[in-house]
């Protein structure tokens, strides 16, 4: 079993023992059927125990798992007829963002995603999934097109954050993100966003202003990476696990805070264990939400999106003696 995370080690060890026993039995012609069945039962119990109580920091490692399906993996499985479109028409083509036309259940849509690399070479070409301004501007161009041709917009969020670098700053990283936030709120077509891995800060949000924001079960979404928070708060980046716990970054936390609308279940052990099952769960959620949203006209969709974000935030009013006296 490759790609085992530390918290899964007991499972991996037990699996290895079972396999060894099987092999040993075969070689020596001894029947271990009962023992193996018992071990398998213990294995399922342990599996249940481990996967039903995954901590926020463990989720962080699952969300960043190298074998976790990327946007392109999921696009290929969820949609048909995907035609990739390129470039922002201003500077270049940022491979950290992919997008184009596709059909969902036979209906044309615009689909966009933040794209991590599958290996080191791919990762370097795609800046590890961290978009430059041209990536956000490509996304904006394709979304404006979707709005013009009245196609729903689907985005997949999977980035550590917008690319931090001199070139990105020179070309207006802040402006690219801010413009997307503003423009996405104005489109008269349905927008559904799915956080499939890591939703890192402004770079994630710049493609996630949707009528519905969904998250895969073990995805995370946060204002700053737990590593970044730890180094700022406690001057110690190695306290990322502690920061992950404090920051409420899991899909379950965000659903509770009413920042997202739904959690899409993952196969046991995480999305990387079964791409097809993951894709199929996302596909049915997308179809259901888009069907619901199709009942709204352009104005209602805009209003719905405005209200979704307008209500987020918690605050209070100081007790003011003077005010009390007036009242």
């Amino acid at each position: 079993m490759s790609g085992v995370l530390p918290f899964e080690t007991p499972l991996a060890e037990m699996r290895k023992k079972i396999e060894e026993l099987k092999q040993f039995g075969q070689e020596k012609g001894i029947d271990f059927t009962d023992e193996i069945a018992r071990l398998e039962e213990r294995y399922s119990r342990l599996e249940e125990e481990i996967y039903s109580s995954i901590s926020p920091s463990q989720k962080m490692h699952l969300a960043r798992h190298q074998q976790r399906p990327t946007s392109l993996d999921l696009i290929q499985l969820i949609f048909t007829d995907f035609i990739e479109l390129h470039g922002d028409r201003l500077y270049g083509d940022d491979l950290a963002v992919v997008g184009g036309l596709a059909k969902l259940n036979g209906v044309p849509v615009t689909v966009l995603g933040q794209q991590r690399g599958k290996d080191t070479k791919d990762n370097i070409a795609r800046f590890f999934g961290s978009p430059h301004p041209e990536g956000f501007r490509k996304a904006l161009r394709l979304m404006q097109q979707a709005n013009k041709f009245n196609r729903p917009i689907i985005t997949f969020i999977d980035t550590k954050g917008a690319y931090p670098g001199n070139t990105a700053e020179e070309r207006g990283q802040s402006e690219a993100i801010a413009r997307n936030l503003r423009e996405m709120s104005t489109f008269g077509v349905p927008i559904v966003c799915v956080v499939i891995g890591e939703g890192g800060s402004g770079g994630a949000l710049a493609m996630a202003v949707g009528n519905r924001v969904l998250m895969l079960e073990h995805a995370i979404y946060s204002v700053i990476s737990p590593n970044g928070a730890a180094s700022i708060l406690w001057k110690d980046a190695s306290k990322a696990d502690q920061a992950a716990e404090a920051m409420k970054i899991t899909a379950q936390d965000l659903l509770e805070m009413e920042v997202i609308e739904e959690i899409i279940p993952e196969p046991k052990g995480g999305a990387h264990r079964n791409y097809e099952e993951t894709a199929s769960a996302i596909q049915s959620a997308l179809i259901r939400h888009l069907t619901e949203l199709s009942a709204m006209d352009a104005c209602e969709l805009k209003e719905d999106r405005y209200r979704k974000f307008r209500k987020i935030g918690e605050f209070d009013f100081a007790k003011n003696e003077q005010q009390d006296a007036i009242m």
Binding site: A162, S174, V223, I224, I312
Partner: protein, 297 residues
């Protein structure tokens, strides 16, 4: 003529003082005196020149030697920019809560209020500049490094909505270290909330002038601060998305000395102009006047 207005000893625009005197807030005696923030003398952080604080105040907290623009508290900024009378503050008593029960947040909020005399990192309201009505939001770096949590996002959104309803121009003075980590995802969402409110204001034809002051980074720079019809910065102000240290640590890139300064941003097309503090009020006045002529706003 505008110069005369400046040299005149002006008081801050009126802010009801009783809001500072409630329970949990610093009492009158303990509040830091803003007239002489660091004693009688003040040392410029950039060139090291020591000058009389009073002289510095007169010079709008710009170093007489090197022209370094020092950071201003929101109330100082309002005093320097708006007309002396008629400022009406919005949501003066809105305060932050601790929605995530984040370790140390509640205590830090209290400490920030003591330090700055403010309830959170932004003051919003309506007033006039050279007689022209305007809705303003003024951020303050001395409260929690100007970070944006729910209160900053909500107050700015409300100010934008008031400007939209009343068909008034809007000026936001930004200064911020970014989104407030202690409110995590709620802080991040304030970027979308404020930007969406600006979209509505924009669609209605409202004039929004963004004034970027030192420093403006992260979540604030990547939302309302860059969305002005006109983006102005003070000289030397740091303005960018990812901070220098973050960039140097993550990608180990050598950065130019003027990286992310107002001048760097002007050269890269991110700003309309860089304006000296002494000319800011008159420039804003001129811009407001030019947009008022057409009628409507």
């Amino acid at each position: 003529m505008f110069k005369d207005l400046f040299q005149k000893k002006r008081k801050y625009a009126t802010i009801p003082s009783e809001r500072l005197g409630t329970a949990g807030q610093p009492q009158e005696g303990e509040r830091p005196k803003r007239e002489i923030p660091e004693g009688l003398m003040n040392k410029c952080a950039k060139c090291g020149t020591i000058q009389y604080s009073k002289e510095l105040e007169k010079n709008l907290k710009v170093c007489q030697e090197c022209g370094h623009h020092m950071r201003l508290n929101a109330l100082e900024r309002i005093g320097m920019t708006l007309d002396e009378t008629g400022f009406e503050e919005f949501d003066a008593d809105m305060i932050s809560v601790d929605p995530l029960k984040f370790p140390g947040y509640a205590a830090k909020l209290e400490q920030q209020t003591m330090k700055s005399g403010l309830r959170d990192a932004v003051v919003t309201g309506q007033g006039t500049i050279l007689g022209q009505p305007v809705v303003v939001a003024v951020m303050s770096f001395d409260f929690f490094t100007g970070s944006m949590g729910s209160v900053v996002g909500e107050k700015i959104t409300r100010a934008i909505e008031i400007a939209t309803d009343k068909r008034l121009p809007l000026i936001i003075f930004s200064t911020s270290g970014g989104a407030r980590m202690q409110e995590s995802i709620l802080s991040l969402m304030q970027m979308a909330k404020t930007s969406a409110a600006l979209a509505r204001f924009n669609e209605q034809g409202g004039l929004y002038i963004s004034v970027i002051t030192d420093p403006t980074t992260g979540g604030v720079s990547a939302s309302f601060a860059t969305l002005g019809d006109i983006n102005i910065a003070e000289p030397g102000a740091v303005f960018g998305f990812a901070g220098r240290i973050v960039i140097e640590q993550t990608i180990r890139q050598k950065l130019p000395d003027d990286f992310q300064t107002a001048e760097f941003n002007l050269a890269h097309g991110q700003l309309d102009m860089v304006i000296h503090r002494k000319d800011m009020r008159s420039m804003l006045g001129k811009l407001l006047e030019m947009h008022a002529v057409k009628g409507g706003f």
